[in-house]
Amino acid sequence: MSNAYLTYAAKRLGQAVVVILLAYVFTFVVVSILPGDPITSVLRNPQNGFREEEIAEIIAAQGLDKPIIVQLWHSLSGFLTGDLGISMRSNRPVSTLIAEVLPSTLILASAGLAVALVLAMLVAYGTRFVPKRYGQGLLRGFPSLFLSVPNFVIGLVLIHLFGFQLGLFRVINPDSFWATLFAAIALGIPISAQIAEVLIANLDKEAEQEYATVARSRGLGQARLFVSHLLKPASLPVVTVIALMIGELLGGSLITETVFGRTGIGSLVQRSVSTQDLPVLQAIVSLGAVIFVLVNLVADLLYPLLDPRVKILGGRKRQPTTADETSIGPTRVVMP
C-alpha cells in the first residue's frame, strides 16, 4: 500500500465521519424545532387525565425542558461514546429496537437486490440477443417503464393478484417465503431498471470491441459470448451503481415494508417519525449514513481488483466511473 493510498483512505474516512455527524445534528435540529414531543403527546391523551402541572413535572424530570443546545450536547456525547440512547416512545434501548427489525430489512433488501440483478441481466441479455421482430426495441424500453412505476403500485398489484386472487401468501403473515419473495419483486423492479440501463449501455459498447468480433468470428454462441466475454467487463460499472443504490434500496424497502405489512427498519422509522421519537430517528439516519458511506468505500476499494486497468494514482482514481456517469443515469439518493 502506497503512502498516497493511505492518505486517500484517511481523507475518505474523515469525510465519512463528518457526513455522519452532520446527519446526526441535522436530524436533531429538524425534529426539535417541530412542536411537541413523544412524551407530551402520550401524556396529553385525554384518557390519562393528567393535569398541566403534572405534565410539566414529568417533562422536567425527563430533562425535556432544557434548552435544545444542552439536549443536543447530551445526546451527541452519548452517541460519540457508542450509546444510542433510549427511545422516548417505547422506553427501550435504541440499539435493541434496531437489532429487532434490522434482519427483516436486510433480508428484504438483499432479496430485492438479487431480484433486481437477475431481472436486469435478463433484460440486458434480451436487448442484445432477442431478434428485432420479437420485441428487442420493446425490451430496451423496459428500464424506463420499471423506473416510472412506483414500487408501492407494483406492491399493491402483486398483493392483489398473488395474495388475494391466487392465495399464494397470507397478507397477515408477511414474513413467509412467498410474501417475502413478492415484496422483493416489488422492491427489485425499479432498482433493476437502473442496473439494466447501465448494463445495456456497456454491453453495446463492449459488443463493438475487437475482442468481441474475434470471439464471434471464432463461432462462439450468443449465450457463451454473453456470459464469458461481454458480461464481466460490462458489469464493472454496475458495482458502482449498486453502491450508489444502497440508499434507494433501504429507502424503497421502507415503502415496500409498509405496503406488505413487514416489520422492519421502515416501519420503525414510520412509527418514530409520527411520534417524533428523536433518539431512534437519529440512530437510524446515522446508521443509514454509515452504511451508505461504507458500501461506497468498499466499492471504491473493490474496483481496482475487478478491473486491472483502474489504478490509484496519488489520491485520484477510478477514471472509468467518471466517464460512465452518463450511463449511470440520474442518481437518486433516498435517505432511509
Binding site: 411537541g36 407530551t40 385525554p46 390519562n48 402541572e53 422506553n91 427501550r92
Partner: protein, 551 residues
C-alpha cells in the same frame, strides 16, 4: 287380525308421541330463543385465536400503557385486578375477597385471596399490593414511569397488616378508591417486575402478572402472542369461571388497514378484527359475524363549553346550543343503532348516572327563540349577528375519535340552519395536544372522550378546586357548582352521594356547560361466529379468558 291392529295402534301411538315431542321441542326452542346449535354448546378446551388490531401502542411500561386502548387488551389477559367492574359498573370481588372502609371513607382494609402467584413465582401478597399502590400513585417520574393519571390524588399510604391484609389511608374521603381498583390502570404486576428500571419494564416479556395468560413472544409493531397459564385458578367470580382459560393461545397481530382486518376475518384468516368502521357493521351483522360495541364507563362524547369566550358566556346561547343539536340524526347518519342517545353527560351505564333526556331533546324552535332573546338576529344570508358580529363556533375535531369529524360536519349543518356559522379544524394528535386545551383562549368547545370508573371524581374534574381541570373555565364563579362539588367530595356513602350527583348532572346540562353528542363506543369488535363466550368489562375491553371455539 287383532295382533295386526294392535301393532297398528302401537305404531300410531308411537308416531303421535314422536310428533308431539318434536313439536314441543321446537316450541321450547323457539320460545327460549335458542337455536339448537347454541343450546348444545359447552366451553371446550383448546384452540388458538388471532386478534387483528390497528396498533400495539408505544411503550410497555405497565403504568404508562395500562390505559392504552390497544395495550389494555394484552394487560387484561396477562394481569389481574383487585376488583372486577362489569359492563354495568357493578363492582365485585376478585383478588380482594372482601373489603371494609371507615365512616368517612379515608381508610380501607383489603382482604386478599390466598395462594395467588405471579407468573415469575412470586406470591401476590399484601406486600406486593402495597408496592403496586405506591407506584400507581407516584410512578417514578425521573425514570419516565408515569403515575396512573386517574388514581386518587388523595392517597396517603398503604400498610401491610399481615400476609393477606392491606390497609390503605387517604388524606381526604375517597369513595372512588374501591371502584378505581377495577379500573384498567390498576393492574397488579409482580414486585420484581416493578423494581426493574424503565428500559426493562418496557420489555413486555420481562413483566410478570398473575393473569390467565402469559406472554410467549412479542415483536414491537408486529405481534404479541399469549399462551394459557395452566395453574391459573383465581378468575373473577362475576364472569362465572375461575379455572384456567379454555383457549390455548391468543395472538394480537398488528394490521393497520381497517378493511384488511375485516377482510381477514371474513376470509377465515383471523378471528377478531378490532375497530372496524361503523358503516360496515350492518352488512357484517347480516353476514353472520358477531358485532360487539360495548360502552365504557365515563363521560359521553360531547363538548365542554368555555364560558369565558363570547358569546358562550351567555347562558341563553349555551342553552340554544343544547337544544339545537339533533342527536338522533347523528346516530342515524354517522353511526348505527348500536350507538345510544346520551341521557346525561356521563354514560348511562355509570352507577349514579340519571336520566336527563328532557334537557337534551332536539327543539330547534326553542333554540331559535333563545337566540332571538339573546339579541342574535338572523340576517339575509341566514347567519345571525349581534352588534355587527356573526354568531360563530369553531370546532376542533378530536383526533382520538375516528368519527369525530363526521359528527362535527353534521352538527355544522344542523347549527347552520339555526343561524350559526360553524368552522371545523382537524389537527393531528401532536398539534391537537399543543393547541387545543380546556378553556383555551381560542377554544369555545373542547370535545371530550374520557373514561372513569367512579362518578364521584367527575365534579372535581369540572371545577378548578384541588387542581381540577376547570373544564368550563368558570374558575370560582359558579357558587352552586362549587357547592355541589364540595358536598360530593365529602360524601361518605353512596346513598348520600347519589342525589347530589343527580343535581350536578341536571345543573350542568341545564346551564349548557356540557353539550353531549352521543354515548361513546370507543371499541368495536367484529368476531368470527365460531368464537364464543367472551366477556366485556367496564372499560369495554374484550376478555377471552372465558372464550372458546364452538364446533
Amino acid at each position: 287380525m287383532t295382533e295386526q291392529s294392535s301393532l297398528l295402534n302401537l305404531s300410531r301411538r308411537r308416531l303421535l308421541i314422536t310428533t308431539s315431542a318434536t313439536v314441543a321441542a321446537a316450541l321450547l326452542v323457539s320460545t327460549t330463543g335458542f337455536t339448537p346449535a347454541q343450546a348444545a354448546e359447552t366451553p371446550k378446551d383448546g384452540g388458538d385465536i388471532t386478534f387483528l388490531i390497528d396498533s400495539l401502542g408505544d411503550t410497555w411500561i405497565p403504568n404508562n400503557s395500562a390505559i392504552s386502548s390497544f395495550q389494555g387488551h394484552i394487560w387484561g389477559h396477562v394481569t389481574d385486578k383487585l376488583l372486577y367492574v362489569d359492563a354495568e359498573g357493578k363492582v365485585s370481588p376478585w383478588l380482594a375477597e372482601r373489603w371494609e372502609q371507615n365512616d368517612n371513607a379515608t381508610e380501607f382494609t383489603l382482604h386478599l385471596k390466598n395462594g395467588v402467584t405471579f407468573s415469575d413465582g412470586a406470591p401476590l401478597d399484601s406486600a406486593a399490593v402495597v408496592a403496586n399502590l405506591d407506584i400507581w400513585y407516584a410512578g417514578r417520574k425521573n425514570e419516565g414511569i408515569n403515575p396512573i393519571g386517574l388514581f386518587p390524588k388523595t392517597y396517603d399510604r398503604a400498610e401491610v397488616i399481615d400476609q393477606s391484609t392491606v390497609k390503605v389511608f387517604f388524606k381526604k374521603p375517597t369513595l372512588g378508591f374501591i371502584p378505581t381498583l377495577g379500573y384498567h390502570g390498576s393492574i397488579l404486576v409482580s414486585p420484581k417486575s416493578l423494581a426493574q428500571p424503565a428500559s426493562q419494564q418496557a420489555d413486555l416479556s420481562k413483566t410478570a402478572g398473575s393473569g390467565p395468560y402469559v406472554v410467549e413472544s412479542w415483536k414491537e409493531g408486529d405481534h404479541v402472542t399469549l399462551v394459557k397459564r395452566k395453574d391459573y385458578n383465581w378468575g373473577p367470580a362475576a364472569v362465572g369461571h375461575t379455572g384456567p382459560a379454555f383457549l390455548d393461545s391468543i395472538t394480537y397481530k398488528l394490521v393497520s388497514e381497517p378493511s384488511l382486518r375485516v377482510a381477514s376475518v371474513q376470509s377465515g384468516q383471523a378471528d377478531v378484527a378490532y375497530n372496524a368502521s361503523p358503516q360496515e357493521l350492518k352488512s357484517l351483522k347480516e353476514e353472520g359475524y358477531t358485532i360487539a360495541t360495548p360502552r365504557y364507563l365515563g363521560f359521553v362524547n360531547g363538548w365542554a363549553v368555555n364560558t369565558k369566550i363570547a358569546p358562550y358566556d351567555d347562558v341563553k346561547v349555551r342553552q340554544a346550543l343544547q337544544a339545537g343539536i339533533n342527536r338522533q340524526e347523528i346516530i342515524d347518519t354517522v353511526y348505527t343503532p348500536d350507538w345510544k342517545l346520551p341521557t346525561s353527560f356521563i354514560q348511562s351505564n355509570v352507577p349514579g348516572a340519571t336520566d336527563q333526556s328532557g334537557l337534551l331533546a332536539y327543539n330547534p324552535d326553542r333554540a331559535e327563540k333563545l337566540l332571538d332573546e339573546a339579541g342574535w338576529a338572523k340576517g339575509a344570508d341566514g347567519v345571525r349577528t349581534k352588534d355587527g358580529k356573526p354568531l360563530t363556533l369553531t370546532l376542533h375535531s378530536n383526533p382520538y375519535l375516528a368519527t369525530s369529524k363526521s359528527v362535527d360536519e353534521l352538527i355544522a349543518q344542523q347549527l347552520g340552519k339555526l343561524g350559526w356559522k360553524v368552522a371545523i379544524r382537524a389537527y393531528d394528535v401532536v398539534t391537537y395536544g399543543e393547541k387545543v386545551k380546556y378553556g383555551g383562549p381560542a377554544i369555545p368547545t373542547y370535545e371530550v372522550t374520557r373514561s372513569f370508573i367512579d362518578a364521584g371524581t367527575v365534579a372535581g374534574i369540572l371545577t378548578n378546586a384541588n387542581n381540577g381541570e376547570n373544564w368550563f373555565a368558570l374558575d370560582d364563579r359558579d357558587a352552586r357548582l362549587n357547592d355541589l362539588r364540595d358536598k360530593i367530595a365529602g360524601a361518605g356513602t353512596f346513598d348520600e352521594r347519589n342525589p347530589l350527583l343527580n343535581d350536578l348532572q341536571q345543573y350542568v346540562l341545564d346551564q349548557g356547560y356540557f353539550i353531549p353528542r352521543t354515548q361513546i363506543v370507543q371499541r368495536i369488535y367484529v368476531q368470527s361466529p365460531t368464537l364464543k363466550g367472551e366477556v366485556y368489562n367496564g372499560v369495554a375491553y374484550a376478555s377471552y379468558y372465558t372464550a372458546f371455539i364452538a364446533d
